[in-house]
């Protein structure tokens, strides 16, 4: 069983521009966004068998819907995010409050060190990978590594269109990695090649990376990903995964997709 935190898109919209995808002029069709979100929830619950925890949306916080950036949850401990941009910093208290209300032991990072939760920290059971430079600060990883006794390999994000690690990097349950190599510099690509055999590295083509093919949710052999990524789907299928494409264009206007809309709780 996989539990995911989600937040309904009642107040979702583009009210500011903090990544290259966001354009205030690119107005969100709210009805369509709600429909797409509910469709995603339906796939997650019915096809994938995930359990969803819904938090209450807050007026004036359009990006609260992207719960991947709430923080990270490890066992009964939760580390809330510290957002780089003031626009999203206002979300911090709501995420923290939710963690506390659910009985998580909340561990807080030093103020002044940016960390944008599961958007920038992903991994396999033994090794985690931390995206830095765009949003999270590399300095948080030694601290998190110390707290959770996990190796954290920092990876510099060199393309601002892939501003969170989860926009270009998706570890799969069988140990494979779905990723877009040019989002990383040479050092990052070599570090990944050292850890993950080439047969297990599934590189997505640029056109699909730009549709956020890597912003996928993997639960067991199910992979929920944005619709319109046929090459990625066929790679997943050939590795024994069952892709579930879901249209999420309204959320792409804000620079987010399937994975951004969920936070893995266990």
């Amino acid at each position: 069983m996989s539990r995911l935190l989600v937040c309904p898109p009642d107040y979702f919209g583009i009210e500011y521009e903090i990544n290259p995808w966001m354009r205030r002029s690119n107005v969100v069709n709210s009805d369509e966004a709600v429909r797409q979100w509910h469709h995603l929830m339906q796939v997650l619950e019915q096809d994938v068998g995930a359990v969803l925890e819904r938090m209450k949306p807050v007026p004036g916080l359009p990006d609260l819907v992207f719960t991947a950036n709430a923080g990270i949850v490890v066992g009964r401990q939760a580390v809330p995010s510290r957002f780089r941009y003031p626009e999203r910093r206002r979300e911090e208290v709501y995420f923290e409050e939710w963690f506390r209300s659910q009985g998580y032991d909340v561990v807080k990072l030093d103020p002044g060190c940016f960390f944008e939760g599961a958007g920038d920290l992903l991994g396999f059971s033994d090794t985690w990978f931390g995206g830095y430079r765009q949003r999270s600060d590399i300095r948080v990883f030694p601290t998190l590594s110390d707290w959770f006794h996990r190796e954290i390999i920092p990876l510099e994000l060199v393309d601002n269109r892939f501003y969170h690690l989860d926009t270009c990097f998706c570890p799969l349950s069988g140990g494979e990695l779905l990723y877009f190599p040019p989002a990383f510099d040479h050092y990052g690509q070599v570090a990944l090649a050292e850890r993950i055999a080439s047969s297990r590295r599934l590189a997505v083509p640029e056109a699909e990376a730009l549709r956020f093919a890597c912003n996928a949710i993997c639960v067991g052999k199910h992979v929920v990903l944005p619709a319109g990524c046929p090459d990625t789907e066929s790679q997943l299928t050939s590795h024994g995964y069952l892709p579930h494409p879901v249209p999420l264009d309204e959320f792409m206007k804000s620079g987010g997709s399937a994975k951004c809309l969920t936070l893995a709780l266990d």
Binding site: D126, T127, Y132, R133, I138, R139, F141, P142, S145, D146, H149, R150, E151, I152, I153, P154, L155, E156, D185, Y187, G188, V190, A191, E194, R195
Partner: protein, 414 residues
């Protein structure tokens, strides 16, 4: 050359992620250099690694650019403290735990700024001005009660020698002393340096002076003409010696002997042993070496050339001296201080055939000044080369042969 530097710490999983490699590459690509001071590698996958890196750059601006470029990759500037200061309890006495200098460039941290220590020389203390803005080395004997003296090691950093840029003998000798090494190439490189330095000296470039510290064996062994020629041709600008070199040099002029031996004939002349005493007595009667040369009483030789060329001569006396000659400083603390004052501006030191003056001079020289030690006894160049300078060349050879070969290399027909 002063280098700006800052120490940074990099920690976490920096090895497998290639973050350390990336940071080091970035430093080099931007034109800086680094020293990896400490690298602790995690014993397990979970355990983090830690590296302490000294970043160096040729200017404060470049250093700041490099630091700015590596900070996003986790390099954080090490928390540094100002150096500790204590008041000298009495004249001539350093406070306990005073910091003792090396001959390497040193900086102290004053009011959160790294300040270059002036007058670098080994085995001294460091005095900070009352405002706490500048720092200078200070011999024990010159400390005054109440002086602010650096103590302990916090806030003090020693800058290792950078490999010299010139690709000559000084850049690869690395303190090797061997009596078996062919001397020709070494002497030829020294000659090239002398030519460069003379050009600089004539243009008034700071650091272009050549210092020669020599013993009387130069005269006995037959190197007098060569050294005289080097002085006349303006290759030597500062001379450190004792009573004997000067006395025997002028003895040759007055009597044709050095310590009684016929300079040309090479055998003892009757009553020749008295000649150096008579020489000293004569100069004492005239009043000074300079007056003896100017009056024409002394016409040839090293001292005459030095007077004519305006070479700064420091003569330090010893306990066995006869006379001594006027101008010989018999107070050894005063002699040391006078030699020290003559060091600034020196760009090359030739230490020839004198254990006493070579070692004394070697102790006064910062490691940044290339030095050549020539002695027939391997112990002397070895002792000097052991000071750990990239630029100390030791030659085990006869002083006269060295000077003659050097002068010939520079165009003398000797």
């Amino acid at each position: 050359m002063m280098q700006d530097q800052e120490t940074v710490i990099l920690q976490g999983h920096i090895i497998d992620s290639l973050i350390l490699a990336k940071v080091l590459d970035r430093i080099l690509m931007m034109g800086g250099t680094f020293d990896l001071q400490d690298v602790q590698i995690g014993k397990t996958r979970e355990e983090p690694s830690r590296a302490r890196i000294i970043v160096r750059a040729s200017s404060p601006k470049l250093l700041s650019d490099i630091l700015q470029a590596i900070q996003p990759h986790g390099a954080s500037i090490e928390n540094e403290q100002d150096c500790r200061l204590a008041v000298a309890p009495a004249d001539g006495i350093f406070p306990d735990e005073f910091y003792a200098t090396t001959h390497l460039s040193t900086q102290v941290r004053l009011r959160e700024q790294w300040v270059e220590v002036e007058g670098i020389e080994m085995d001294l203390g460091i005095r900070v001005d009352p405002m706490g803005l500048t720092a200078r080395t200070l011999p024990m004997g010159e400390v005054t009660q109440g002086d602010l003296i650096v103590t302990g090691r916090e806030g003090v950093r020693v800058i290792p020698l950078q490999r010299p840029r010139d690709r000559d003998v000084f850049s690869f000798m690395e303190s090797q002393v061997s009596s078996e090494r062919p001397h020709g190439r070494v002497i030829s490189d020294i000659a090239k340096r002398l030519v460069q330095l003379r050009a600089g000296f004539r243009e008034g470039t700071v650091g272009s002076k050549v210092l020669l510290a020599g013993g009387p064996a130069i005269v006995h062994a037959g190197g007098r003409d060569a050294l005289t020629w080097l002085v006349e041709e303006e290759f030597i600008h500062v001379l450190f010696c004792g009573n004997a070199l000067a006395a025997h040099d002028m003895e040759v002029d007055l009597y044709g002997t050095s310590l009684g031996y016929g300079d040309a004939a090479g055998r003892v002349l009757p009553h020749g042993h008295e000649h150096h005493l008579r020489t000293i007595n004569r100069i004492r009667a005239i009043g000074s070496i300079e007056a003896a040369v100017r009056s024409g009483a002394i016409k040839t030789g090293i001292m005459a050339a030095c007077i004519r060329r305006g070479v700064q001569v420091v003569m330090a006396g010893t306990i066995r001296d006869d006379g001594p000659l006027p101008g010989v400083i018999t107070d050894s603390v005063e002699a040391q201080a006078t030699m020290r004052r003559a060091i600034p501006g020196v760009g090359l030191a030739l230490l020839v055939a004198s254990t006493l003056h070579a070692v004394a001079t070697g102790n006064l020289l910062p490691a940044t000044i290339p030095s050549v030690c020539v002695d027939i006894n391997p112990a002397v160049p070895t002792k000097l080369a052991d000071r750990g300078s990239f630029q100390a060349v030791g030659l085990v050879m006869d002083a006269a042969s060295f000077l003659r070969e050097l002068a010939r290399e520079l165009g003398a027909s000797l």
